[in-house]
Symmetry: C2
Subunit: 329 residues, 2 copies
């Protein structure tokens, strides 16, 4: 039986950064709470996301991907606000009875920690707290970022005639899940990477400060998330379905029609959906190009509420992605 303290010490506290002024840690993990030093004059940007086995990711997903993904989906919320990520807290619930023996549990845990820490370090995010408990596998990640007052991207700033754009490519989350259910297990497959190892668009969110009039991340699917943005901003939208940037391999894997459908209503893409004035699009595209990322205009906001598409398809029925939807693959 693995002890909670040992696991935390071995896989989390040991890989933690030291207490330094630059990472804003005045007292690190190991006490009842952690002491952080926010930068003067910045607002804190906070969010929490839980990833549950068989709901948000398949039970057989590689542990590395489970750790990466749990942090990625939480960081994606900071990206959507344009925030700079600073700290995270990780609450892991973990069922030892799923493993043959302690060695198997340790191997899983080490791989999980590698996935979590490598993404965390890539985004200069310091682990500021954690908890490990016994139970069905689930990871709750709280993320904390900073942003100067007035610069946060919100869902409510879109205006009629603003253009609608997305970073990167869509449909990869749904396409990867479809492949996974068909038995594909090669993690180098681009669609499986999109599903299991999503990249939070933090640099893009920061680059879009001062340009995007509204933003959110696409976790529930383009149409569902566009609805959140439309409702918060009180605008309608006209989407150009043929303009949707499709994830690499998506048309090959699913065919043109299903690929477009995945881009419209699939979820787990973790791209940013933004609105901007037409005059700002070129500047935004240049800034994102420097990050190696496309920004594709896919539609336009309008005064008339509701959403329609250039090809007149019925898009009324998309309530949102149900993630892994409870089925065991």
């Amino acid at each position: 039986m693995l002890a909670e303290f040992d696991l935390i010490r071995r896989y989390f506290m040991s890989s933690q950064e030291a207490t330094t002024a630059s990472n804003g840690v005045a007292l690190g993990c190991g006490d009842d709470a952690t002491l952080l030093v926010p930068q003067a004059g910045q607002q804190l940007v906070v969010s929490v996301d839980t990833s549950v086995v068989d709901v948000h990711f398949p039970r057989a997903a590689p542990a590395f991907a489970v750790g990466h993904r749990a942090l990625a989906v939480a960081l994606s919320d900071l990206a959507a606000m344009g925030a700079t990520s600073r700290w995270c807290l990780m609450a892991l619930t973990f069922d030892q009875r799923q493993f043959e023996d302690d060695a198997a549990a340790h191997a899983w845990f080490a791989d999980y920690a590698r996935g979590f820490h490598s993404l965390r370090q890539q985004h200069e995010t310091t682990l500021a707290g954690g908890d490990v408990t016994a139970g069905e596998l689930s990871i709750g990640v709280t993320v904390m970022g900073e942003i100067p007052p007035g610069e946060a991207l919100t869902r409510s700033g879109a205006k009629a005639d603003d253009l609608i754009a997305v970073t990167g490519a869509l449909g990869g989350g749904a396409g990867g899940l479809a492949l996974w259910k068909q038995g594909e297990r090669d993690l180098t497959h681009p669609l499986l990477q999109r599903y299991l190892l999503p990249e939070p668009r933090l640099a893009a969110g920061i680059a879009l400060r001062g340009l995007a009039s509204a933003a959110l991340d696409i976790s529930d699917g383009l149409l569902a998330d566009l609805t959140h943005l439309r409702e918060a901003s009180q605008v309608g939208a006209l989407l150009d379905v043929d303009a949707l940037p499709l994830a690499d391999g998506l048309v090959h894997g699913l065919g043109q029609k299903a690929a477009q459908q995945a881009a419209l209503s699939g979820g787990d893409d973790y791209e940013l959906l933004v609105t901007l004035a037409a005059d700002d699009v070129a500047e935004a595209q240049q800034r994102l190009a420097r990050l190696g990322l496309n920004l594709t205009v896919i539609g336009r906001c309008r005064e008339t509420l509701g959403v329609s598409t250039t090809d007149q398809r019925d898009v009324s029925g998309y309530a949102g992605w149900q993630h892994f939807n409870g089925e065991t693959p």
Copy 2:
């Protein structure tokens, strides 16, 4: 089937405080993340705690108590640091299949929210984010407090000859659990209250700033938590077992010997364990008396590492409380 958005809107966003300068919220729930405004010059104090059904609380516990308790155990970590609680985030994982129908699920959820919110409001803690997911019942609570630099109580400041003291009374958590397992369900029973509705000692922690040389909260049991303090401070301890303040009803319920044992090694008490210089004890007791709380001296730190008791009992075998330890009551 209850939808996540509806639950959050109905039971959490509606009871949320408005965006105001006084609660430090610049943009409330409903966007991808929440914007908070920390007070200038303060350190942030952060911690996360997960409460899992059948591990930390019984499945049949009243929903009100589940909500109260999940927040209380997290706030207790802020109390142990002497912090002022400011904000919390709540990640609820919730299994609808446990309920007969939607009405039963709504009733549970409403009662849970009442327990969570009433404690939250009592401690002027603003809900700054949340997530509701499907799965085995579990609640992850991230708490965020503030404290002036240099004033936090830590585990590492105890010195030889400091006195060891505890707030309130001990053994109530273990006593309440024992009663619960015997079938007691009357929530007005003082021991059941101690187990199911613990009170985080936030005001006491703040009152002890500048006086306590070290502090932590008793969640794993006095001996186990004293070990954490001793290891962090590199001191030993001599405990006076007859001085332990026993929870109301504990001797009556368990007998003298088991009551002392519960106070020594039971967990879930959420009292503060502190060390202070002998000269500071009277002042600390006066400050806590103003809060209606006792501070009882129960021992003394010493240079010789390890722990012993005035009655020479063997206290080497207490690795710590296993909470609800996985058994279904």
